[in-house]
């Protein structure tokens, strides 16, 4: 029980320290941190529109975080979530604009297409790791660039005639909802958040309750012992990457089918896949932790948009504050050390 409280205390303390450090930076730069944090808070909780937009921002962060966390838990570093997300986005939109089907079939099909595309993209580094021991980080970083440029090509030359975005998806493939949008004063909130939460439950179930998860984690911890125990190490490495890629592909599908309704040419990465690494770390690679971390991360990102609107503080400062929070979480060892010292002194 004490340990659990301790586990919760560290991320909370990290966030507080991050906010404090951010305040110092704003003070030094001559801005008023109180105004900034008020604007930030209002930008998340201030009215239902902001809240809706914040939840919408959170959705892909949850899925990207799950993708990274799942791979981490099984001993792999999937830094290719970004690329898997981009191909998932395009695949989902592709199904969304190509077929005309009843919604009950069309929407799940489009989401699954996104997941499948992400899975295929993640399978490549998984296969190379399993068969040739090529490090998954190298392959998946390169595949991020490949994904970016291949999808750009497909959008301009296959799906359209040299346009920079696809048609909008059919209504039967959309995750958008007049109901949710209406409730939140016209925000772009969509059903994706439900998909993300379901995926978090699925990840928890796979890792904690199934024989598959038992094998995946065992292989991640100790390949030799897993092989000795009769597990198929190579299959598990590929499986782990594929499941991770499905989550990443779903993240892209949420953007394609929910937030935007189309796919457009990108000049650079969305950043969501990379932020997913921070979300996974912040959430200690557990399903519930990732969801909470994604809410924090997405909330900050969404709320931050309001700071330059209401105060003279530039957007860059906001990015610094978020970066500081992540920094303090990453150095949680340091915070743990301080807490331990305080505890020890308290006992004496």
């Amino acid at each position: 029980m004490v340990k659990k409280m301790f586990g919760l205390l560290i991320p909370v303390l990290s966030v507080v320290l991050g906010l404090l450090a951010g305040a110092i930076i704003m003070l030094v730069s001559g801005y008023n941190p109180v105004d900034a944090y008020m604007a930030l808070f209002f930008g998340i909780f201030g009215d239902s529109y902001f809240l809706g937009e914040a939840i919408r921002t959170v959705t892909p962060y949850i899925l990207a975080g799950l993708a990274v966390a799942f791979a981490f838990r099984t001993g792999l570093f999937n830094i290719g979530v970004e690329g898997q997300l981009i191909v998932g986005w395009l695949a989902a939109v592709w199904v969304g604009i190509t077929f005309e089907l009843p919604m009950l079939i069309h929407l799940p099909l489009a989401i699954l297409a996104g997941g499948l595309a992400g899975a295929v993209w993640a399978f490549i580094p998984g296969l190379l790791k399993a068969k040739f021991r090529v490090h998954e980080v190298i392959v998946s970083i390169m595949l991020n660039y490949t994904a970016l440029h291949v999808t750009n090509y497909i959008i301009s030359y296959v799906l359209t005639d040299k346009l920079d975005k696809t048609n909008n998806i059919f209504e039967t493939a959309t995750l958008r909802s007049p109901l949710l949008s209406g409730l939140t004063d016209g925000s772009r909130l969509h059903w994706g958040i439900i998909v993300a939460i379901i995926c978090a439950i699925i990840m928890w179930f796979i890792l904690e309750k199934t024989t598959t998860g038992f094998e995946l984690k065992a292989v991640g911890f100790n390949q030799h012992a897993s092989e000795y125990a009769g597990m198929n190490v190579n299959r598990n490495i590929m499986m782990s990457m594929v499941i991770s890629g499905v989550f990443a592909g779903f993240a892209g599908a949420m953007e394609g089918l929910g937030t935007f309704g189309y796919a457009s040419i990108k000049s650079g990465f969305t950043g969501i896949g990379f932020d997913g690494i921070a979300v996974a770390l912040l959430g200690a690679n557990t399903a519930i932790g990732v969801v909470l971390a994604a809410f924090l991360f997405g909330g900050l990102k969404a709320g931050a948009l309001n700071i330059p609107v209401e105060t003279p503080i530039p957007n860059e400062i906001v990015d610094i504050v978020i970066a500081l929070i992540v920094f303090f979480v990453a150095s949680s060892y340091f915070i743990r050390w301080i807490l331990n010292r305080i505890n020890k002194k308290g006992v004496k």
Binding site: K209, T210, T211, T212, F214, K217, A218, F221, N222, H224, A225, S226, E227, Y228, A229, G230, M231, N232
Partner: protein
């Protein structure tokens, strides 16, 4: 000023466990003082307290009569306490000298004076007859030499009191002899030594006095000259210990394991098992005696499916299992206590309970349609923990947190409980204390008496002669002789293991 080190009434607690309870250790100047105890008795904890890695809850430490507070290893170093760790802390691509000066580089204007350092290392090495080449790279020298580098490291830093943490665990018999001489020359030069060990032979050979610990409690200190191995063993374990394992005559029946002419290549592609024949019958223990590196590891890996064989056949109860997947072989009735428990035997980050079902998690009742049943898994774990006397705070404790002996007991419990027709035990007692060894030998013999076949691989001749019903000698990947342990001697076995005496092995090895 009689004692160089005094640790008085030390108490050290960890959450849920008292590792040291009122332990007193007093070391005289110029003596070799043994710290004897079973695995998990708290020896290493006590030494970590002395070395400043842990802070005691109670008790006092005195160095040369003066009370001191050792809050980190640097202070221990300054007080002249040096530790030779069991697992060496060396940088492989660096030279001996570079390793020794690491962290204390003699430098002038930012430039390291390696020549002077090398000279000083050579002088030290000569003074204590260590014959270490200061310019050799660590990766090019033997394990025994690496240990001497660790010793030099502490001497270079001016250590007067050297702690050796189970130094002989990694050494060959020849290297052990040399280490004993080195320790004697160290005390002749006025150093004092604390030797952590559970090997009674070593204590009788070099130590002056011995402090015995049992379950975290200091039992007392005795003079070695007034003691003998039997009384030390019973002090350590808390009851009388039988060195000679008692067993009935074996009643071998049908052939369980039948190996016919297999060859196996090692990781480098060199054929290390050559046309090997071996049969093990139900109701007998066959011991494989041999010097490390004569194909034992590859033989086991071939039987258990971890390595492919290139010809011949391996049958279990008449069914060919050659080159099947490890799981299929395990399901055919083969249990395997692996040589390296950390590498193969356990997932250290998994709980003891999860490790207990490492091969059977996918079977009923531990899972159903792919979903684990943790209450059944931990039920099973509790059974094994109770039956095999695995000392652990709970079945949820990570395997990493257990001592070596208890990890091994958990593995043995897991393998024996599956009741395999063939149990392969590779070095089952390596690094364990007499109590645990006795327990494990009993279990192996029990399996045999229940009509199972047991294949024992060990580098300890005592163990082979003590436990086996038949001894197969392996040399360069072949079984060169099969002998009856009651009709042979260690000397004769040793000669055969060295390849100087071959018997016609062909038919006899098939029992």
């Amino acid at each position: 000023m009689e004692y160089v080190i005094e640790m008085l009434n030390i108490r050290k607690e960890f959450p849920g466990i008292v590792a040291n309870d009122n332990v007193t250790l007093q070391v005289k100047k110029g003596e070799i003082h043994a710290l004897l105890g079973e695995n998990g008795a708290g020896k290493t904890t006590l030494m970590n307290v002395l070395f400043g890695l842990y802070q005691p809850e109670k008790g006092e430490i005195r160095v040369n009569g003066k009370p001191v507070k050792i809050t980190n290893p640097n202070i221990a170093n300054e007080l002249g306490i040096g530790m030779v760790h069991q697992h060496f802390m060396l940088v492989d691509p660096f030279t001996v000298t570079e390793n020794i000066i690491l962290g204390k580089e003699p430098s002038k204007a930012g430039k390291i004076n390696i020549k002077d350092a090398s000279k000083k290392v050579r002088e030290l090495s000569e003074k204590y007859q260590l014959s270490v080449d200061p310019d050799a790279k660590i990766k090019d020298i033997s394990v025994g030499m690496q240990q001497r580098v660790e010793i030099l490291k502490t001497l270079y830093r001016g250590a007067e009191i050297l702690i050796f943490d189970e130094p002989t665990a990694v050494l060959t018999p020849q290297e052990i002899k040399e280490l004993m001489l080195i320790m004697k020359s160290l005390v002749n030069e006025g150093k004092s030594i604390i030797l952590i060990t559970h090997k009674l032979k070593e204590i009788m050979e070099v130590c002056d006095r011995v402090t015995v610990m049992r379950k975290g409690v200091g039992i007392g200190t005795v003079n070695v000259s007034e003691s003998d191995p039997n009384s030390l063993a019973s002090l350590m374990v808390g009851r009388d210990v039988v060195f000679k394992t008692e067993k009935k005559e074996s009643v071998p029946t049908d052939v369980v394991l039948d190996i016919d002419g297999i060859s196996v290549k090692d990781a480098r592609g060199i054929q290390v098992v050559n046309q090997l024949n071996l049969a093990v019958r139900a109701g007998e223990i066959v011991g494989i005696a041999g010097i490390d590196g004569n194909g034992q590891t590859e033989l086991i890996e071939a039987i258990t499916g971890l390595k492919k064989t290139i010809n011949g056949s391996i049958k279990i109860n008449g069914k060919n299992i050659q080159n099947l997947k490890p799981r299929k072989i395990s399901e055919s009735g083969v249990g395997h206590i692996p040589e390296d428990r950390h590498k193969h035997g356990l997932v250290l980050d998994y709980s003891i309970g999860e490790n207990i079902v490492l091969q059977t998690y996918y079977q009923k009742p531990f899972s159903k349609t792919g979903v684990l049943n943790y209450s059944k898994i931990y039920d099973q774990a509790r059974n094994i923990i109770a039956e095999y006397d695995v000392r652990t705070p709970s079945e949820y404790t990570p395997a990493r947190a257990l001592s070596g002996g208890n990890q091994q007991k958990a593995i043995i419990g897991r393998e024996v409980d599956r009741n395999p027709d063939l149990l392969i035990a590779a070095q089952p007692t390596r690094g364990l204390d007499v109590g645990a060894i006795e327990f494990i030998h009993k279990r192996l013999i029990e399996q045999r008496d229940n009509g199972k076949a047991v294949l024992l691989i060990s580098f300890e001749l005592d163990e082979i002669l003590n436990v086996s019903d038949r001894v197969a000698v392996i040399y360069e990947g072949e079984i060169v002789a099969i002998v009856n342990p009651r009709e042979t001697t260690e000397q004769e076995l040793g000669l055969m293991m060295a390849g100087s005496k071959r018997m016609e092995a062909g038919d006899k090895s098939r029992g």
